[in-house]
Symmetry: D2
């Protein structure tokens, strides 16, 4: 039994992570931290969850864990010191934030307008997408878990780009996400009365912080428009891509043969597009492809942002890092 620690157990990703780990045959929970809920038990917060104590970050005993997950709120100041301490203590780390996802410190500085706070960690980190970086993840000590939106652009576009089929380097990704992607911290944007029964776009164009990892992994120039759906979980992205003149549907579909054998990528049958409900509460990323006219294609990709898009993805990486069956706890 491997032992894992979770920093940030009461956010939505921490919570989903613990639900998976509670059923995982090969790990046990060494500790789980919380801020305001420290001192309570997880089952006090959610009665049907396992009865794990919640401790303050300072009270977590790093030595008790072989691997830690950092699921802290965006921009938490304790993240980098925690990651450094864990790595120095010989522990493996899977981080849920976007701080270690870009491999090039210059790219980071250019996109964020300031230098990276820990460039040596950035260089050591592996982008946690098994379909593209499986062998590196196996050897990694620090894995940057993927963003939820990027997954729905990278996995559909990378095979086409690899196959040399993409004609226009600019690709439009119009994404729609459930509200859980915005986390459990309070804000007017996620207040029921402002979110329910409505729909909105935000950070459109080239401003969202997930843009960097999409472009890093695909090598394409991306126009990205996220929208907020009045549902709890799931992302659907509609992608507008121009392929080489004459590319047939068969040729385009053939590019996805790189995913043969992948346990969690599903290419839809020809003529069928995936819906959110097809993937909610599953580990699948589903891809549907449709030709519009000569060269123009529309791709629809869906994922459960909390599972394959976050906590399930992290467990898939954990399984690789700990030498376990890649799908353990995930089927």
């Amino acid at each position: 039994m491997a032992r894992v620690g979770i920093y940030g157990a009461t956010g939505y990703t921490g919570f989903e992570l613990i639900k998976i780990l509670a059923r995982h045959p090969g790990v046990e929970i060494a500790f789980a931290t919380a801020r305001s809920a420290a001192g309570q038990r997880l089952s006090d917060i959610f009665p049907t969850m396992i009865d794990t104590p919640l401790v303050a970050v300072e009270a977590a005993d790093l030595r008790a864990a072989d691997l830690i997950f950092t699921c802290l709120p965006h921009g938490a100041p304790e993240l980098i010191p925690l990651a450094q301490a864990a790595l120095e203590a010989g522990k493996k780390v899977i981080d849920f934030s976007d701080i270690f996802r870009l491999s090039d410190p210059d790219d980071f500085a250019r996109r964020r307008g300031k230098p990276h706070p820990a460039p040596e960690l950035l260089s050591a980190a592996v982008y946690g997408l098994p379909e593209l970086h499986r062998e590196q993840i196996r050897e990694a000590r620090l894995v940057a878990n993927t963003g939820c939106y990027p997954l729905t652009a990278i996995l559909p576009l990378w095979p086409l780009e690899q196959a040399g089929l993409v004609a226009d380097r600019t690709v439009i990704v119009d994404s729609k996400s459930g509200v859980s992607g915005a986390g459990r911290s309070l804000s007017l944007k996620t207040h029921f009365g402002e979110t329910h029964e409505t729909f909105s776009a935000y950070s459109v164009g080239r401003t969202h912080r997930h843009l960097g990892e999409m472009e890093q992994e695909t090598g394409l120039h991306i126009i990205f428009s996220p929208h907020l759906l009045p549902v709890y979980r799931g992302i659907l992205s509609t992608i507008y891509v121009t392929l080489r003149p004459g590319t047939t549907v068969e040729q385009a579909r053939a590019a996805y043969a790189v995913y043969d054998g992948e346990p969690f990528v599903k290419l839809m049958p020809d003529g069928r597009l995936p819906e959110l409900r097809h993937v909610q509460n599953t580990m699948y990323l589903a891809i549907g492809l449709q030709q519009v006219e000569e060269g123009r294609y529309i791709i629809v990709a869906t994922v459960d942002n909390l599972l394959k898009g976050a906590s399930g993805q992290a467990v898939q990486s954990m399984n690789l890092m700990l030498g376990m069956e890649e799908t353990a706890g995930l089927l």
Copy 2:
């Protein structure tokens, strides 16, 4: 043209109030206050609303208004001084809070566990339910706008009690409310991820602060269980009442003749129960009645908590207080 001032324009009730007033033929807005949004215009916050400036409470010129609405957050410390100042300046006041709804200071003290902070205002205040207190509202200088839940108990039960039909003094009121009833202030309870696609009971039994006005107006002993629906607006209450043995449906229905001519009370046809959608975005309170067995009746009552249950109700009272057509701006 009468001139009205609104204290608290950016909460859900203030907002609905302004939507009604903007179309009202007989009033114009003298001022509208906000806290964090002071200095902006209402259309900055909600682009399709009227373009009214929002001022800080201190910057509102009370002299510019004939009547003021106080739609402040629950427990706002400025409420009582504001109401006093307005009354002293000869203005009429309609208050949305529950501080002036009980007529007896002793009853207030017993229920809240502390004396009323301004008993002289309490004595002056009229409970703002036109169906029961129309003539007093016409003459009132201070009206306590009704709570949203109580309306769905008082209007269905009062006629039966008046007719001497209620046999068991204890009545069960099982209510289900949309989330807008909890206001626009942030809380985990109204965070999308904790409210959407779920349902819960809270403050059940004899603990909710609306219980007092229900019992004051009906004279009955009430067991009250509110629940939170994952919808934005509307309340449906299911009422379990025991009438005198032998009471026929016709006799029970006849008691509601007291509402003949009421513009906003709708007794459903026999055999039909009202649904939330029947009253959402309308001023109607709808009542359906069904006999279960000898003496036992179920009443279902529905209302839009923001219109007849709050802001529309306040305008109905305002129309009476200003000597206007009672339904002006409300049809």
Copy 3:
């Protein structure tokens, strides 16, 4: 008082139409037809609606009306005979279907794969978009009410095209619609369990039947992807358009000066995008514009599909056709 007849009163558009007409100062309802509900009254179906009798189509007395609205289900065989009979009797007609929206019979035949069933009516019909065809609507005897989706593409794109700013003739329109757009007829696609808490794309690319009117009115080549939102009302379209190199935001915004004085078109302040809730239950079509990079712009447009997108739009045309104030009953 003008008298109007409604064919198809119990569908979602017929229903919204009657809600508007019931408050309209200048018209009264001559008759309202229904299929299975014929013989009932409208208030039997929806208790808080006006108490209008519902008659079978055959029982409606055309002579009693000055103008008729045809809000029949898609493909209803009685539509064309009804429209012909009404026109021959000297009545004006506003049709909600898509059968009279393309002005060129050849275009119709090419897009639908079969000739138009009544080309003489097609030639007589005016496309019911007051912002583009106000004077023709005033004189029209037959108005083809606009589709709900097309409105969100035509009104944002037409000014840019008129101003000569559109560089790439191919424009991407990614639209998201509430479920009421699919009507009240039963189908698995609109069954609660298959629609709620999910999201899907359908008829993507160049296959949706609204494509023709978008292209006719804008003169552009459009890639159109509709999606189904789990909300009742409202459409939000995200439009990707390439303007001439060097076009500034000011130049682009200036193109919308053509809508100065339009009562129902709202250009958002710079830097602000409209949300669904801004327009739900209103007559506004709201447009927000954002530059992404040199030449590339994203436009977000929102509308209430049942009001400005259907029944309110029809009343706006009716007001013009009957010589009334254009906004009567709509504010």
Copy 4:
């Protein structure tokens, strides 16, 4: 490996059943039937489901199965012949309908107004509630799977009644259910536009067909009011019960010790009421208890109507009937 057959695989309960069985370590699917979808595979209908062929009822080979589940639409004429044929062939049967739930043919006749169509099967059937009838289920050849609503009344009330604590034989059960309880057959009642963002009561009092099994299992007289929630899954029931004068909370809670060791019944901590989200997608039935005043108690019970309330419950019974671990496939 036991082999099971499913009659009615494409309804909501059949679908959830197959999701559970696909992960169950001890069974494999012998056949799955469908009506209009016969000839397709289950993954054609729902792409991320297992790839099981769907056959017509007539094409299902009963001999291939050890146990069959009948998940047919309410009132399906093929049910009783199918059950008889299976039992005659020595197969075990778990039926999801309400036809075998009342043990007394006279009670059935009185409540339904007509005699039972197969009284010999009724006598053989065991009510499929392991917490009350575990040993009988082990031996049963025909199990009548419980209704979803009744579970939320029987499990909370039975211990109190067993302990002799119930003072008033009439108990009020006010229940609120997600829409999946109404099944996948199309009806206006479950059409998105009529169900979403609304709330309604139906079959209130003593008219709902689940009343019989509630009264049979508890021995109490029940007033039952079901309501339809705009959520997909889950039931919350609020129960008003009068216990013997002087009954303390401790005494009432002690009655639930009968569930000690039950894997799927959860008594909430004192002072806490269960919410729908606590049990959705789990096998738990959760019970919270609150004293209102002398003798009066409110109980809130929640369950996932598709899991412990239907398909998971059926698998729990199957595990008992097949001599497997009772919780296999359900944790």
